[in-house]
Amino acid sequence: MHKSFSLDLLEVGEQATIRQLDSSELPSKFYEMGLLPGAVVKIKHKAPFNGPIGLQISSSNTLIAIRKSEALHIFVEK
């Protein structure tokens, strides 16, 4: 079994599956916009100096941007 780590550690171009979200830290809007356990995400863009992260959600083919501070609470597995 692979070890899960937080989403912000992924590099641009890498893909991973969301395993868990720290639900006490994130509002339900994250779930509603498709960041759900089991969703496959691919990092598309990273703004410089710890700026926002742009990711593509494979199941719905949409691009979503979140802050790095929120990506810390999303755990993924490659």
Binding site: P27, S28, Y31, E32, L35, P52, G54, S59, I64
Partner: protein, 700 residues
């Protein structure tokens, strides 16, 4: 019979507003929801033998609110007593995000609101690599599914014919998890008349504004007893619904490859590039300002000329007297002062709505968020702040793009610190008065001073944002999640509508207040409490019998102003402005520039009796004014009125003070409250006073 209300509900970027514009055409207006400031876009359409009221609800991903806009949506749909509560909801979806739209649709139906489902942008289904089995989808949603393309009008007629459908309550797909059943049963007893899902929403949300205090307490009690947090409930619902939809839709929608996203990803490689992305953004920004200034200049000159001509003509036609003066110098000059801003506002909003329509605006947020976050602002604050260099009025209006209520408020509060174009003529006059025309390290001191004033504006905006960020409470948790929509060619209908809405909003709403203030100032400057004002000629002639006619007229105008209400007000505030190094004449300048900063130069010209008409761009006229101002002695200190200390103090005062009734008017309109408008005025003028005071006391 009451006209049926049809509400459009959907995610952002699904073409909901295009659809709304298509259906209502020009029969629409923007108002406010009762008691709050979120804009309500409403229109009407005559069809099927009746008139429908159409409401374009703010775009939302869910019925659980995280912003003020989303709170409106929930209140309108869930509260049957809300005046905007619809008879039918039209849920608008886009093929790509259809799952999210289905969630929204199910939520609405389960609340007990009749709703139909529309798939918009139907022409893109193939390009997006999808195959939808509509029959199965209709069976799944228990409703007829309509397809439209708002850009070319496909399917619109069929949709309008469906406005009389009222699909009833649907028991729904959402099953409350076992962990929450006990709490739900308890809440159902407290709300026997509501649907089960409505009751669930009651437990899963805090602060539902349309419930009574007792009802809210009951709900809080239930949450506490069962140790539930509303956030956890909302997440449970999102997960449960999404798993189910994912499973159910496998048989209904076939998703292949998305060609649109390929193109979008390619463009984003450049526009979101860590270096080129910023280069392009700043170039675009530069271009926007150039266009706003270059394109609007000839129109503004034209308006200016024609208004002057109109004023001269009116003055010539009407018999001389106070009525003619009020009409020309008060009313017409006031209207002219409003209309002169229209070209800049229209062009700025044309360019901004183009950026929005194409999808570029979300990229700006992506690029800039990191740099503005430390100040409690949001990536989207860039547009208002940069526009503030032109004029704060359109800039404050541009803050509407910011969803988070607090970030939007902070942005609006600090935007007027940016050095707007109206400050420039004052800076030019004052700098040439008090800053020596010498060079320092090869830079002209005067130019350097001007640069510093611009930088001061930015610094003041950011610093005060950082402070306000600490003071103002956030009603909603601060987070950022937004969609980067695929790039599209703009829908010109939306661009046009948007431009018209913003411009007419300024013209008619803010215009009323500006006009009123202009008239008040005119009255104060043109009437006096005693005969020194009404018989000014005699007094002046007695004091200086040897004056030529031209000199006499100038002296009379100056004597009049001194003894007008405005003049007495200037002397009245003298004790207040003396610590800043000003005399009563400068006090008059300050009071009259409350109407608009640019009035300062004209008022100074009158006070120093040069006649009303002075063009600060005309070198010769400006020199005359400058030499008069240089030789002016402050009767309190015996020193020149405009020395380095008082000059710097005045410059700083103008840099920070709120002296623009157009801005005040637009703040009142945009925030919907006098409270924040007053706080802003007091904050800015207070900072101006303190800074000017310190500068004068240190330099004198």
């Amino acid at each position: 019979m009451k006209n049926p209300i049809i509400a459009f509900l959907g995610n952002p970027n699904v073409g909901k507003t295009s659809l709304f514009n298509r259906i209502t055409k020009l029969h629409q207006h923007v108002g406010n929801y009762p008691g709050i400031t979120v804009e309500k876009r409403e229109g009407s359409v005559k069809a099927n033998g009746k008139t429908y009221r159409i409401i374009d609800l703010p775009g939302t991903y869910t019925l659980f609110p995280t912003s003020m806009d989303e709170e409106i949506v929930y209140n309108v749909l869930a509260d049957k007593k809300n005046p905007a509560h619809p008879d039918l909801v039209v849920v608008v979806a886009e093929p790509n995000n259809i799952k999210r739209s289905i969630v929204l649709y199910q939520q609405a139906r389960e609340l007990g609101v009749p709703a139909i489902f529309v798939v918009n942008m139907i022409d893109e289904v193939n390009a997006k690599g999808m195959d939808i089995d509509y029959q199965k989808l209709e069976a799944y949603l228990h409703t007829k599914v309509y397809t439209t393309d708002a850009r070319n009008g496909k399917g619109i007629a069929q949709l309008i014919r469906a406005f009389d459908e009222r699909p009833g309550y649907s028991p729904g797909k959402f099953e409350v998890g076992n962990a929450y059943k006990a709490a739900l049963e308890e809440a159902k007893k407290a709300f026997p008349l509501h649907t089960e899902y409505q009751t669930w929403q009651f437990i899963a949300q805090e602060n539902i504004s349309f419930l009574t205090k007792e009802q809210q307490q009951t709900l809080a009690g239930i949450r506490e007893k069962h140790q539930l947090s509303s956030n956890a409930l909302q997440q449970a619902e999102a997960i449960e619904r999404n798993i189910k939809i994912e499973e159910d839709l496998k048989a209904i929608i076939l998703q292949k490859d998305n060609h649109h996203l390929h193109r979008t990803n390619k463009i984003d490689k450049v526009l979101l590039h860590p270096i080129w992305g910023y280069v392009i953004f700043f170039f675009l920004l530069f271009l926007v300002f150039q266009l706003v200034f270059i394109l609007s200049e000839p129109i503004m000159d034209w308006i200016d000329e024609n208004f002057s001509a109109l004023i001269d003509y009116t003055a010539g036609v009407l018999p001389e007297g106070p009525l003619s003066d009020l009409l020309t110098q008060g009313v017409l000059a006031g209207i002219g002062g409003i209309i002169i801003f229209v070209p800049q506002i229209a062009i700025l909003f044309l360019l901004i709505s183009l950026m929005e329509e194409t999808g570029y605006m979300s990229r700006v947020v992506f690029l800039m968020d990191r740099w503005l976050r430390p100040y409690g602002l949001n990536g989207k604050s860039v547009i208002p702040l940069m526009s503030g260099v032109g004029c704060a009025v359109p800039a404050i209006m541009a803050a509407r793009n910011i969803e988070n209520t607090k970030e939007r408020l902070v942005t609006m509060l600090v935007t007027p610190f940016m050095t707007c174009s109206a400050r420039l003529p004052i800076y030019v006059v004052l700098i040439s008065l008090v800053i020596p025309n010498e060079t320092f390290l090869g830079f002209g001191l005067q130019g350097l001073a001007l640069n510093i004033l611009y930088i001061l504006g930015v610094v003041a905006a950011l610093l005060s944002a950082a402070i306000l960020n600490k003071i103002i409470k956030n009603q909603h948790k601060s987070f950022l999640i937004f969609e980067l929509p695929s790039y599209k060619t703009p829908d010109w209908r939306n661009v046009g509508m948007n431009m018209w809405e913003k411009t007419s909003g300024f013209l008619f709403q803010a215009g009323k207040i500006i006009l009123a203030m202009a008239i008040i100032l005119w009255v104060l400057g043109n009437f006096g409490p005693n005969d020194k004002f009404s018989n000014a000629e005699e007094y002046v002639q007695q004091a200086n019998p040897a004056l030529s006619e031209e000199e006499l007229n100038e002296e009379v105008a100056s004597f009049r102003l001194e003894h007008s209400f405005l003049g007495y007000m200037g002397m009245g505030i003298e004790p207040l402005v003396r610590p800043l190094g000003y005399d009563w004449k400068m006090g008059i300048g300050l009071i009259s520039s409350f109407a608009a900063r640019e009035v300062f130069v004209g008022t100074m010209a009158t006070v120093y009796s040069l006649g009303e008409e002075i063009d600060p761009d005309d070198d010769e006229e400006r020199e005359t004014l400058l030499s008069r101002m240089r030789s002016e002695i402050n009767r309190n200190t015996g020193q020149p009125s405009y020395n380095l200390a008082s000059g710097i103090s005045l410059l700083l005062f103008y840099a920070f003070a709120m002296q623009c009734m157009s801005t005040i008017a637009i703040m009142k309109r945009e925030t919907g409250s006098w409270k924040w408008t007053l706080i802003q005025t007091v904050m800015m003028t207070g900072i101006a006073y303190i800074v000017a005071f310190i500068a004068y006391q240190l330099l004198k």
